[in-house]
Symmetry: C2
Subunit: 272 residues, 2 copies
């Protein structure tokens, strides 16, 4: 394996861009390939079997692109592929190592022992998988976990509607159970949600800590690459973006919240 080979990030849409940002900040020399399956976005309402099938196609594609590591930059895919018991063998299907984003959130929680109540916000599929409740209870048995499914937030973000006048009302509706009975910390268990971070913080108040797993995921990537002697520590990085539907759809969505920076990169259309 060669350090020059790219780290791959996969998401159904633009959510994984939060992982991309964390990774480019922490490891500015790494070559990165980002794959968005925007022809089938969002995954949050699909069956577990279908999510595993689509993610498997994406990992095969990235393995063929000679990625040295694949990050599933999507909690729905990470939960269903890496933690569901019946598909525990997901990694075994591929030679390329796979890292999900769920461990990142758990690591973030591990740093603090003053939390008593944590709310986990995720898609319907992620919340139904129960993976966060299960793993947090093992790791932090004193923590009370309040899982909240927010099925409309991804469609809303993917539609670029995070400035829509009713977004706040919808977010307030989802967070209603937390307003009366306060929590210490909220885990954003979906890579899209950091895009609504300001709004969520405003609704919950400044006292509540918001945790985003992207930073911790990038630490995990760094540690893995360092251990395998695969870090690329010099030279300009090369970024490649691949999408399954029209590139314009993707660049329009990305530029809505990242500005023109990532539009200057070439976006290829591909088939999974």
């Amino acid at each position: 394996m060669d350090a020059q080979l790219p780290v791959a990030i996969f998401d159904s849409g633009v959510g994984g861009i939060s992982v991309f940002q964390a990774l480019t900040h922490l490891l500015p020399c790494e070559n990165i390939i980002y794959l968005a399956d925007n022809k089938r976005v969002p995954y949050g309402g699909l069956s577990s079997e279908t999510i595993v099938q689509y993610t498997s196609e994406a990992v095969s594609f990235l393995q063929a692109k000679k990625a040295k590591l694949v990050v599933l930059g999507c909690h729905t895919a990470s939960a269903r592929c890496l933690y569901d018991e019946e598909v525990f063998s997901f990694q075994k299907r591929f030679s390329v190592p796979i890292i999900g984003v769920i461990n990142g959130g758990l690591q973030a929680l591990k740093q603090r022992d003053d939390f008593r109540r944590v709310a986990v916000l995720g898609t319907k599929s992620t919340i139904q998988s129960g993976v966060y409740e299960r793993l947090i209870r093992c790791q932090n048995p004193h923590l009370e976990v309040i899982p909240i499914a927010c099925p409309l937030l991804v469609p809303m973000i993917e539609s670029g509607l995070f400035t829509h006048p009713d977004t706040e009302s919808l977010v307030r509706g989802y967070l209603q159970p937390l307003l009366n009975d306060s929590v210490d910390v909220v885990l954003l268990a979906c890579t899209h949600y950091p895009l609504l971070r300001g709004l969520i913080q405003k609704v919950l108040g400044e006292r509540v800590v918001l945790l985003d797993s992207s930073d911790y995921t990038s630490f995990e990537v760094r540690d893995y690459l360092a251990a395998e002697n695969l870090l690329k520590v010099s030279g300009k990085p090369h970024y490649q973006f691949c999408v399954t539907d029209k590139p314009e759809l993707f660049s329009r969505r990305v530029s809505l919240f990242l500005g023109a920076e990532y539009n200057s990169h070439l976006i290829d259309q591909c088939q999974l």
Copy 2:
């Protein structure tokens, strides 16, 4: 062609059920096959090319099932496949005749000459296609058309959230341009929207007429079958449901608004 062969209805999700209902009421003896591509729902945010590709796969599937007629029970698919100039040849790819739901809405408008302003509510793709504006201007040149894209309503309905406390707020946001400057009629240019009919009527007030194309589409089906001598006018009907993701996902959604009636039918999982 044999009158016993089924009429097919295709939608990405449960929206086409409004066409199914209209058809079973008008033509209670017809055999019907309903196909939902719930593995890739919703279509409203996809590129035109992808919508045409997915719809094409669906029609091929239904043609192989020996449908005597295919109804595209989805305005997004109807607009992109049957009216976009570059894909005007969509019908030519298939031997089975194809009817969309757009003509139904136009026929509904044609019946009345007292309307002055019409709002057209649809998905982002349907509204961007401009098909309704173009066709209404040809047919009713005196009518002012106000197109309104409502990108979150389909995800909301597919998630069964039409009773969510914030649905009204979201609907009110979309209809804001109509509240100050009133319209005579609102065309529900998406087969999902009739499921929010009561709420939309409440927001707009009783004076505004709501038009749903499903009834008119079923008239068009009847007229076509009668002209081709393909009407099935006796015997019990047989209904078959095919879905691309897990049947449970579909039956849960359908039963949310139709009750248990359609759950008693067998739902097959299929591949397009």
